[in-house]
């Protein structure tokens, strides 16, 4: 018996959020008196695989099949179902991201397992199997009980701090026989946004709203993001006006993010915007209107003009970085 965790990588480098998932799975395994087994597919070097031991995986089931460098959800489903059967797994963990969310629900059907998505806590097993998640666009937390024998959990990234220990995982080549239909989706082109921190994984985010006045002022947002090593985001009207690409729009109709730090410049803080960012651990709001609703959701607030405050903040960050590195 072991807890299974699906691991994602980008061109052979394991994603940080997957290390979080491995750590999460191994903590659950410890509580159950068992071990965690990582499942990974595609082209990944052995050293990278062994590293998973540092986050608690005792064993790695590795599917060396280059086709799985792409998201073929049906093929991944087959891999996870086979792994779960071999390991007699009571729990399967994946990430609450575009990949995990395409694969895990299919696995849940195959295994007749209850699914919890966007998990924010370890399961509480005192009175069932209860996991905390966000509900109603961040306006409440729901505690969801799973009553099937097998459980599938999609972990929300950036929910637990990552701690690396010593340890090497044992690698086992895992053979799965696929069918043609597992590769029914033909990828015609891939457009990866390069040179930036991807928003969905970012720990620090600098975001701009209509108060930035126009795309010509976005250099101020980018300079601060660059100084911090942060991703950039925006409010919906900013994306709708074409000032910024749509993938940067956060809120009820855009992305949901939970970074450690969210800096909102010239954003009023409408409820639909907060729906996408209220899970941020620390919120800084810069707005010239002291009555802006966003200040009620903020930890730190600056009442002032973004055009003046942003360059000063960027300078202060640079100075701080120079002193601390």
């Amino acid at each position: 018996m072991s807890v299974i965790v699906l691991v994602e990588h980008t061109a052979g480098t394991i994603k940080k959020k997957s290390l979080e998932a491995v750590q999460y799975a191994s903590e659950i395994a410890k509580k159950l008196g068992t071990t965690a087994t990582a499942v990974i597919a595609g082209k990944v070097e052995e050293t990278e695989l062994k590293n998973l031991g540092g986050y608690g995986a005792q064993k790695v089931l590795y599917v060396a099949d280059d086709r799985l460098n792409e998201l073929h959800a049906r093929a991944f489903t087959r891999v996870l179902v086979a792994a779960a059967k071999q390991e007699n797994s009571p729990i399967i963990v994946a990430l609450h991201d575009v990949n995990g969310r395409a694969i895990a629900p299919r696995v849940a059907i195959q295994l007749k397992a209850g699914l919890i998505s966007g998990a924010l806590s370890y399961p509480d097993t005192d009175k069932g199997f209860i996991v905390k998640k966000s509900a109603f666009s961040g306006k409440a937390f729901a505690f969801v009980n799973v009553n099937s024998d097998v459980k599938v959990i999609l972990l929300a990234p950036n929910s637990f701090p990552l701690v690396k220990a010593d340890g090497e995982a044992v690698i086992e080549n895992f053979n799965v026989s696929f069918e043609d239909k597992d590769f029914g989706i033909k990828v015609k082109s891939v457009d990866v946004i390069t040179g930036e921190v991807p928003l969905s994984d970012a720990e620090l985010v600098v975001s701009g709203g209509r108060g930035m006045k126009g795309p010509e002022n976005w250099g101020l947002i980018e300079d601060l993001a660059h100084a911090l090593g942060a991703a950039t985001a925006c409010s919906r009207p900013v994306a709708d006006s074409g000032w910024r690409p749509h993938h940067e729009h956060v809120g009820q109709t855009g992305g949901t993010i939970r970074p450690n730090l969210y800096i909102a410049a010239g954003i009023s803080g409408a409820i639909q915007h907060l729906a996408g960012v209220s899970g941020s651990k620390t919120i800084v709001v810069i707005n010239k209107d002291p009555e802006a609703p966003f200040f009620k959701a903020a930890n730190y607030g600056i009442v002032g003009d973004v055009m003046e405050v942003l360059p000063r903040l960027t300078e202060a960050v640079k100075k701080f970085k120079a002193e601390h590195h």
Binding site: T10, D97, V98, N99, R101, A102, I103, A104, P105, R106, I109, A113, G114, L115, I116, S117, S134, A135, F136, S137, K139, A140, F141, A142, V144, N145, N147, G184, I185, K186, V187, S189, V190, I193, P198, L204, H246, H247, Q252, T253, G254, T256, N260, L261, I271, Q272, T282, K296, A298, N299, Y300, G301, I302, V303, R312, L313, E315, A316, F320, H324
Partner: protein, 247 residues
């Protein structure tokens, strides 16, 4: 081509969440329910566009829910669906919902099934891929553009850190988000004709739910904001480092 759009009802985003019965239940008395935005604005409108351009012949909408959801189903018909199906069952668990829809969809041979990226109440996004697994078809999630020609769909979708364009054979299940279509407001004619469009109610064999919400919690009230003078950015950076510990 026959299109099925899966719709759900959710509390309005601006609804204030009040808990009752020892925090085990959300008090629905002050809540307005709406058609899930991803289903209404993107999935349904794209289905209607496919019909208007002659690619699709019929657009059905389906909802797993009790009789109280019928006004929301009529809203989908007012926007433009041809026919509605309500599966009379509780809609608390994705596994059960997907099984109910699959059971119905199997006999109808839909070519394209569209759903929303997620319901905005619990944001699972699970019904679509589960349905695809049950129907033994492909699923493409988080689509931002959908085109259909013959028996092939060309779909642009979000991937981790970018976008990708895929080709897939019908039948297929696709979940929709912003980009797929532009929201429409139902017109008077739509609202009038919605009243007479067929709304079929099906009583299914019960599927056991595998999950349930035991209780809720409201987020802790935010401590009041600490204001920092606009010329004291060094102080802010120090607080972010030593107090908030985020840099």
């Amino acid at each position: 081509m026959k299109v099925l759009v899966c719709i759900s009802q959710v509390p309005d985003t601006v609804a204030k969440i009040v808990l009752k019965d020892n925090n085990t239940v959300v008090d629905e008395s002050g809540i307005t329910f709406i058609l899930n935005p991803y289903d209404e604005w993107y999935a349904l409108v794209r289905a209607l566009e496919l019909k208007e351009t002659g690619v699709a012949e019929t657009v059905h909408v389906i909802m797993v829910g009790r009789a109280a959801t019928e006004p929301i189903i009529r809203k989908a018909l007012a926007v433009g669906g041809d026919e509605a199906i309500r599966i009379d069952a509780d809609s608390t668990d994705s596994y059960a919902i997907a099984n109910y829809i699959a059971e119905y969809a199997k006999s109808e041979a839909y070519d394209l099934i569209l759903c929303g990226k997620e319901s905005i109440d619990y944001a699972n996004g699970a019904v679509g891929p589960m349905l695809a697994e049950l129907l033994d078809t492909d699923f493409i999630g988080f689509a931002t553009n959908i085109a259909v020609a013959g028996t092939t769909a060309t779909v642009k979708r979000e991937i981790d850190g970018g976008e990708e364009t895929d080709e897939v054979n019908l039948p297929v299940v696709i979940s929709c988000q912003k980009g797929v279509a532009e929201a429409r407001i139902p017109n008077m004619r739509g609202i009038m004709t919605a009243r007479t469009k067929p709304l079929k109610v099906i009583t299914p064999a019960t599927v056991t739910a595998l999950t349930s919400v035991t209780h809720y919690e409201l987020p802790p009230a935010k401590a009041s904001v600490k204001l920092i003078a606009p010329d004291q950015m060094d102080e802010l950076v120090n607080l972010l480092h030593s107090q908030a510990k985020v840099i």
